[in-house]
């Protein structure tokens, strides 16, 4: 680890998408008009695909090194040097970020290709791709930046691009509102993130090792132990602050509200940003700083608690949603919860593994739903779909595979990764059986709502109106090809991380240099198999319920939705009223504050002003009385004089600024002359 290998091509992995974004952003409108959309597509897709190839090269380079030396760095130039703060613009690739750049450029590249089909009719084709490339750039900075500050640059960058892409169709007010919401909610998290960075730097600086690079933080992390701020350990506080940032970006409770609304953007954007890449930034950050999190057991408990709570919470919400993309959105939030559960019990490798497999099948699901929406002429309500199996064969089969994967069907990617997390939640030192039980319950719900969606969309009678039915068509090959590739990934991606009982995980081995040796749990392999079987059983139960309700129609969903007087159903369907609560508490609170200010202004300040005015009025009335009766003639005299004087003075008040200036100057001159003459 002491002699990082300077590898010059790493910068191109990051910079190529930026170049694509710059060219498309500056020249896009002209290019589109002169040369057509293919030029834009080429300019947008080529950099990402080349980045992907370079990432593969980086991966192979890493593979050639000995495990403890797997570390490439590309220092571009020193960025800041302020006192003890020294930050380079440097990109690094270690096993962890290698996984991330492969996911970002690989899945990102597929989504770029898909978008060329999906967005083909859009007028602002070039603008879309400029932002998509810019987003890829920002995400790559986030995962390859070698310091917290550079990570923060990417962190903000993805937030900005997310805002721009959610509100892409800005003519509709709903979309811009959703963009604003995502941006503002993320800002709350980013504030925590910044505080975390400050705290880490500040407390390391106190020890004489002010640094921001991850490797040096890791090196000096032991210095932080024992330091306290406000009676709380620095490590605990800093990791908590950083986790606030993670909850914002990765849509965990309580900052999850932006993600479902973010579905207002174009569907490939939902797939890229809100499923495969940006939302995983929080998980990545926690994994990146695993040495700090592991040193703060309290934070780990919070992370795991928030993770499992989010997983369950959004799974219940997803049960009742009817919008095809909203189900997927809540499912994403739920799966992110699983990742945080994994990270929170110290199984960072498992979290990253689930991140990767999830990227495959969730991207596949989103793109599949995009294909459905495309075919349905923009309809997103699942109640108006059905029977699309024959009409959209590619979409159907790929969607089926992805649903199987997310539901955790054995031998698919989702099975291995989710089971790894559940097993770690049960057996690791930070885990507990409670986490396992809740996690399995969530997995059962996942299976139920995913199959519910699957049956509603693809089976039964088509419930769309006549016009839409006539226009049903399979998507072009630019859209189906990525679907097929992603579906293959949804299965194959799991096999690199087989659980211990099936021969051990190559994936865990790969990440070992980053996270340290894998702590083999003490529980026996038999127990692992039993637990695995149990979770598969629960998932199968979820599938069976969905099958009965939405395929066979034997079991009326109302029997469940009317439980407890429909209380639960309403709660789930309205997302626990969290948006409404935030509206009342935060938005309403701000308005209330403004109203209090206005009230003070109107009643208290105005009272004082009015009061003095009335007093003056009274005095003048009294004065007038006195004048009228006592010194009448004098009054007339004064009035006449005043009028005459006013008439003369009026000429002074010319509105001519020069005149005023001369008066001021004259006064100054006289004052100066007096001063110089008589006081010096």
């Amino acid at each position: 680890m002491d002699h990082p290998v300077q590898t010059d091509f790493l910068r191109w992995i990051v910079l190529l998408p930026l170049i694509g974004a710059a060219v498309n952003g500056v020249l896009g409108a002209v290019l589109q008009k002169r040369m057509g959309k293919w030029a834009i597509s080429l300019l947008a897709c080529a950099p990402v695909l080349i980045s992907f190839l370079l990432s593969l090269q980086a991966f192979l380079n890493l593979l050639a090194l000995r495990p403890e030396n797997r570390f490439l760095i590309d220092r571009l130039y020193p960025w800041l040097s302020l006192g003890s703060l020294k930050v380079d613009v440097a990109f690094w690739v270690d096993p962890l970020s290698a996984v991330m750049i492969l996911v970002v450029t690989g899945i990102g590249g597929l989504i770029h290709i898909y978008s060329t089909g999906y967005m083909h009719e859009d007028k602002s084709y070039w603008r879309y791709f400029a932002f998509l490339n810019l987003f890829t750039f920002a995400m790559l900075v986030l995962v390859t930046g070698d310091s917290l500050l550079l990570m923060f640059v990417g962190w903000e960058g993805v937030g900005l691009c997310s805002y721009a892409l959610i509100g892409f169709w800005y003519h509709d007010h709903v979309n811009t509102r959703a963009g604003n919401k995502a941006f503002i909610v993320n800002r709350v998290g980013d504030f925590g993130f910044v505080l975390g960075i400050f705290l880490i730097f500040w407390s390391l600086d106190k020890q004489g090792h002010g640094t921001m690079t991850f490797r040096e933080i890791q090196q000096f992390a032991s210095l932080l132990e024992g330091q306290q701020v406000w009676g709380i350990g620095v490590v605990t506080l800093a990791t908590l602050f950083l986790f606030v940032g993670a909850t914002g970006k990765s849509a965990q409770i309580p900052l999850h509200v932006w993600l479902p609304d973010a579905m207002q953007g174009p569907t490939p954007v939902s797939a890229l940003i809100h499923a495969a890449t940006m939302v995983t930034a929080g998980v990545y950050m926690v994994a990146r700083l695993h040495f700090l999190y592991s040193a703060a057991p309290e934070t780990l408990l919070v992370v795991a608690g928030v993770g499992i709570a989010t997983a369950l919470f959004s799974a219940t919400v997803a049960l009742t949603q009817t919008d095809i993309k909203r189900v997927l959105a809540y499912s994403t939030v739920s799966q992110l919860g699983y990742m945080f559960l994994g990270a929170g019990v110290g199984a960072y490798g498992a979290a990253i593994f689930h991140l990767m497999t999830h990227a495959f099948f969730k991207a596949c699901l989103f793109l599949g739903s995009g294909s459905v929406i495309h075919a349905m002429s923009g309809e997103q309500d699942m109640r108006k779909m059905g029977g699309l199996r024959q009409k959209l064969p590619y979409t159907f089969w790929t969607f089926a595979i992805a649903v199987l994967a997310i539901a955790g069907t054995p031998l698919t990617a989702g099975f291995f990764s989710k089971d790894e997390i559940l097993w770690q939640a049960f057996s690791s030192a930070h885990g507990s059986p409670l986490f396992w039980v809740l996690g399995v319950a969530g997995a059962g719900m996942t299976a139920f709502y995913m199959f519910r969606q699957f049956f509603l969309v693809f089976f039964g009678q088509c419930r769309a109106d006549h016009h839409t039915q006539e226009h049903l068509h399979e998507s072009p090959s630019s859209m189906t090809l990525p679907l097929v590739l992603l579906a293959i990934g949804s299965i194959a991606a799991g096999w690199i991380g087989l659980p211990a009982v099936f021969g051990g995980s190559r994936f865990a081995e790969w990440l070992e240099p980053v996270f340290g040796a894998h702590h083999e749990a003490h529980a026996s392999a038999t127990l692992e198999e039993i637990l695995m079987a149990a979770s598969v059983g629960v998932a199968a139960l979820g599938f069976y319920l969905a099958y009965l309700m939405y395929y066979k129609g034997k079991l009326a969903p109302e029997r469940f939705s009317s439980l407890a007087g429909g209380l639960f159903y309403r709660l789930f369907h309205n997302k626990y009223y969290i948006d409404e609560i935030y509206q009342v508490v935060f938005v309403g609170g701000t308005l209330l504050l403004a109203r209090i200010g206005a009230w003070i202004d109107r009643y208290i300040i105005d009272f004082i002003v009015d009061g003095s005015a009335k007093t003056t009025a009274f005095i003048s009335w009294f004065n007038g009385l006195f004048d009228n009766h006592v010194v009448d003639w004098l009054v007339n005299k004064i009035a006449d004089t005043t009028f005459e004087a006013g008439d003369r003075f009026r000429k002074v008040q010319t509105g001519n600024i020069n005149g005023y200036l001369y008066v001021i100057l004259g006064a100054v001159l006289i004052a100066m002359i007096i001063k110089l003459r008589y006081w010096s």
Partner: protein, 102 residues
């Protein structure tokens, strides 16, 4: 005679006076703003000169930087107003813009 504080102060005073003259005589709003810039420069020379010769600290320079910052803000706003006036009245002669005066 070696160059001392007095020289700088006199230089500042000259700039100030020229700026004042501009403000007093010009009718063109932009020219008046230019005069204001001259006045600010004259004042800034004083700040920096005092900081150099009299106090020995850097506080005078800091004030000069603040003045420059505010001058930038003033120039931006002032010229924006001038442009707005030009769009409405098609002139920027301050004598011609007198709608506020009854």
């Amino acid at each position: 005679m070696a160059i001392g504080l007095t020289h700088y102060l006199v230089l500042g005073a000259i700039l100030f006076s020229l700026g004042l003259y501009s403000v007093l005589t010009r009718r063109n709003a932009i020219a008046i703003l230019m005069g204001v810039e001259l006045i600010l420069n004259g004042a800034n020379i004083n700040y920096v000169a005092f900081s150099h010769f009299s106090t020995g600290g850097l506080d005078g320079q800091i004030y000069a930087i603040f003045v420059i910052m505010l001058a930038a803000a003033e120039a931006a706003i002032g010229l924006a107003i001038v442009l707005a006036i030009f769009q409405i009245f098609h002139t920027i002669d301050v004598g011609a813009v007198e709608t506020l005066k009854e």
